[in-house]
């Protein structure tokens, strides 16, 4: 496939497909909810608020039994670790979402298309570099990449952006520097390795990718009556969405923290190759937010720096919540091909960069 067809196709095809899907869903779904703002309390979705209220009342009533149930030291430690991961991640999550909403709402839609070079092979590094200045965690970059493709940006560039933005933005690199005060080279290694993986994947898509793998479901956005409304809607949606996945990640991390005996990790850590593979898999399973994962990596101090670099490079690019989100935004056929390839690329590149820089 030449670069040209790749560039030309996405403008028409995925949108056409998305269109047919979209029209169908639009007729069925938003119609009842269509007159949106006075979301009727007797509509089909009234449930949430009442369910929430009932749930909270029940929780308050059963507060004491609940606390008693958490008395087991293991459960208590799990709760402490879970809560602390959430508390620590909330500022990162909120500021990331805020910035991404500012960019999404107040930066003109045509900006990215104009800013990127016309030739796709050049657009890939440009998009990766754009990812560097765009703060936000991976949860935010998946939908942004989706809308870039909708707006006619070549998928290769959008995917490079998707991979680069969460891994090498200023917040993430600062967090990495804070987490590794004694190893500033870690910041450089993380930036370089992540950029290389993003570009490799972009170019690989130019060579091998097929646009019909990408099927974008229709996403009725806010037809913004005002920018303020769109902005706060973006904030609300992203905090709930990304925050929900963050809770999943925190639960997984707390479970690993409590259940996996340290001696286990110790045995894995002793073997150079096994430790790299183990931390790459751990990164996928833990699904940590890229803005927080450096701190977890720092605490895995029994592992070599290279294997922890692999953890930091793989994590923001491939993990359980990302695979789920990519399947949602781009379609399952895409996610099934993209995620394993990215995993392999990230593993190889990060190991190589680690060998050179660390």
């Amino acid at each position: 496939m030449t670069a040209d067809t790749d560039q030309a196709a996405p403008a028409g095809e995925p949108e056409g497909r998305a269109g047919t899907v979209g029209v169908a869903t639009e007729v069925r779904e938003p119609a009842p909810a269509g007159g949106e703002p006075p979301r009727r309390w007797l509509g089909d979705r009234i449930g949430s608020v009442e369910v929430l209220a009932a749930l909270l009342i029940l929780l308050i009533i059963f507060r004491d039994p609940l606390a008693a149930a958490l008395d087991d030291p293991r459960l208590q430690t799990w709760t402490t670790v879970f809560v602390s991961i959430m508390v620590q991640a909330v500022p990162f999550l909120v500021f990331g979402v805020l910035l991404s909403a500012v960019i999404a709402v107040f930066v003109p839609r045509s900006f990215w298309a104009k800013a990127l070079p016309r030739h796709p092979a050049l657009a890939v590094p440009a998009a990766s570099a754009a990812g560097v200045v765009l703060p936000g965690c991976e949860c935010g970059s998946v939908p942004i990449a989706g809308s870039l493709i909708r707006r006619g940006v070549t998928p290769a560039a959008a995917l490079a952006f998707l991979l680069a933005a969460p891994a090498v933005n200023p917040i993430v690199l600062t967090a990495t520097a804070v987490a590794f005060p004694n190893n500033p080279e870690m910041v450089l290694a993380r930036g370089v390795a992540s950029l290389v993986v993003a570009m490799v994947m972009g170019w690989l898509w130019l060579r091998l990718g097929r646009t019909d793998w990408i099927r974008m479901p229709r996403r009725p956005e806010l037809d913004d009556a005002s920018r303020g409304r769109a902005f706060w809607a973006a904030v609300r949606h992203d905090v709930t969405h990304a925050g929900g996945f963050l809770v999943l990640g925190a639960m997984a991390a707390a479970s690993i923290n409590v259940l996996v005996p340290e001696r286990w990790l110790q045995t894995l850590a002793d073997n150079a190759w096994l430790s790299i593979l183990a931390l790459a898999l751990l990164a996928v399973l833990l699904s940590l937010c890229s803005e927080a994962d450096a701190f977890v990596a720092a605490s895995l101090s029994q592992f070599s720096l290279t294997s922890r670099l692999v953890f930091l490079v793989v994590g923001p690019m491939v993990d359980l919540k990302l695979i789920a989100m990519q399947a949602g935004v781009f379609g399952r056929r895409f996610a099934l091909r993209f995620a394993p390839t990215t995993f392999a690329a990230a593993l190889l590149v990060a190991t190589g960069v680690g060998a050179v820089l660390l």
């Binding site: 430690t77 500021f95 805020l98 977890v296």
Partner: protein, 260 residues
């Protein structure tokens, strides 16, 4: 989960974070330096919740005109060109409201109802003592005072890597909690955080002399004692544990800052 429910959850989350950071609750989970960011993030969450509710509950009037408004959307009055209209900000709003948002109730619950304690003796028994190779080879002399107050981490590092040279014959005063040692005897421990409790690791000190007895695990004590060259081993990670020769001790209430 509809938008009002999302707004309520955001309000609760923001409120819980603010409450935890204006009280000392947050110190159980994260470092002190995060406090201003926690407060700011909490306020933003509350603002997002209020704005969402405001837009949701406002009279519907402007909504009907929406698709024609906004220069940044597609051509006005051109509904079929939905690919122009959608993807306005690429965040997938609309009828696909994230169900995963329900999970955000869990941290709210954790902070408001449960408020789990800081990591203590159980976590300390699960992890190996966290002293790693020293950052510096020279330890500065201890500050003035008799007994001189030092942290468990500082004492352990000086005792282990400096073989007590910089402590000499001084009396030191340490604060920590009681945990089970390798052979069941009480040891003094303190958790060290680099970021949040997820990376909390214990520093352990063996005790000889007037060993505190009859105290349950997780009791906080202030011990006064001197350096001893006795060393033990932590079975978890096979690292050396320095000892302290205790002269006197007293039980104290749980301190505000439980982590070193």
């Amino acid at each position: 989960m509809n938008r009002q429910a999302q707004a309520v959850v955001l309000l609760l989350l923001g409120g819980a974070v603010i409450r935890a950071s204006v009280t000392d609750l947050y110190l159980r989970y994260v470092k002190e330096g995060l406090r201003p960011f926690l407060i700011a993030a909490g306020l933003l969450l509350v603002a997002a919740a209020i704005m969402t509710l405001w837009y949701e509950l406002r009279p519907a009037a402007p909504r009907a005109l929406a698709p024609t408004g906004g220069g940044s959307t597609g051509a006005p009055g051109d509904p079929p060109a939905h690919h122009e209209v959608d993807g306005h900000d690429g965040h997938g709003h609309g009828h696909h409201e994230p169900r995963v948002g329900w999970l955000l109730i869990l941290p709210v619950l954790g902070l408001l109802l449960v408020a789990p304690p800081a990591l203590g003796s159980y976590a300390a028994s699960q992890a190996g003592t966290a002293l790693s190779a020293p950052q510096q080879s020279d330890y500065p002399p201890l500050p003035e005072g008799d007994p001189v107050s030092v942290s468990v981490l500082d004492y352990a590092a000086r005792a282990l890597f400096d073989r007590g040279a910089s402590i000499g014959d001084r009396r030191v005063q340490l604060t920590g909690f009681i945990a089970d040692g390798p052979e069941g005897q009480p040891i003094l421990a303190r958790m060290v955080l680099s970021c949040c409790a997820a990376d909390g690791r214990p520093v352990k000190l063996g005790l000889t002399g007037e060993v505190p007895t009859g105290l349950p695990n997780d009791s906080w004590v202030e011990v006064i004692g001197r350096y001893t060259d006795r060393l033990g081993r932590d079975p978890v990670n096979d690292a050396e544990i320095p000892y302290l020769e205790v002269e006197s001790w007293r039980q104290i209430p749980t301190p505000k800052r439980q982590y070193d």
